[in-house]
Subunit: 140 residues, 2 copies
DNA sequence: TGTAACTGTGGACCACACTCCACAGTCAAG
DNA sequence: CTTGACTGTGGAGTGTGGTCCACAGTTACA
């Protein structure tokens, strides 16, 4: 498909698609069309790539980082071990983020709880969740 | 404590601290010092606030969003129900992010697995994890 | 009382991630 | 072969999240 359809499908603007292509985040091929400025053609695989970009981004990765990882992944396909290495590193980062998220969730839940109970006891303190520290009154 | 100590403690630069203060992310009080341009003084509570800012940010929230939530939380403290409302909304967002993260983790893990096994079977496809869809060969 | 270390202010500057625009080439349908 | 929809290019502009700097006022210590 050409850029407009692709943009519609992914919810990106054409400009953003071109921007991502310039950054190497998307690798459109060309059909014969377009003459001196060949038209970009995208596949369903690219649509999925955008899903991944979006999620990676919402997890706080920069486009450059995402591009680098994609790049490495592409190269890593050649050397299997390198591929595993790169992906493992990525997994570690994801797990770290997951831990942070769980901290935040616990904290927010505790705060909701505290409010629901009519502010009884000590106001939840982020530190207790942040450093996995021992909490005061609410521990068994 | 004054801004330099606070900066040292949080690992932010003085400029960033001031920047955050301008955005309303931090709410330093003043001691009598500084004359016409009163000095900012920060507390341990502000240090914890920075922890939360950092994590929220790394989870993809903008400073404006974080400030708004802080703001609402502050106001919500007056009306308990409103506070619960705001925090619940925040929790929903955090849970959505957690789901995304889990998707990514499953995907990356599957990819590592696939490589470790010497690329046997079908190459893992992000779609299967993204939409919680049924997978082909690797399901029981 | 001097001086070094601290403070806030205002403004310029930066990278990132877009977004918009004018322009010109290309394609496809009639 | 015209016409309208589509395409890429280059460049300028925007908002966010800082960072840097010169400047001037304030403080604390000797």
């Amino acid at each position: 498909m050409q850029i407009s359809d692709f943009a519609r499908l992914t919810g990106l603007t054409r400009d953003t698609v071109r921007f991502y292509s310039r950054l190497g985040l998307l690798r459109p091929r060309t059909n014969g069309k377009g003459g001196r400025h060949p038209y970009s053609v995208f596949t369903d695989k690219d649509v999925r790539a955008v899903d991944i970009i979006r999620i990676s981004q919402s997890l706080g990765m920069s486009l450059k980082e995402i591009a680098t990882l994609n790049e490495e992944r592409r190269e890593g396909h050649l050397t299997c071990e390198r591929g595993i290495e790169v992906l493992s590193a990525q997994l570690v980062r994801l797990e770290a983020k997951a831990t942070e998220l769980e901290m935040m969730k616990s904290y927010v839940r505790a705060k909701i709880d505290w409010l629901t109970r009519g502010k009884q006891g000590q106001q939840p303190d982020f530190e207790s969740y942040a450093r996995g520290g021992s909490c005061g009154s609410s521990c068994f």
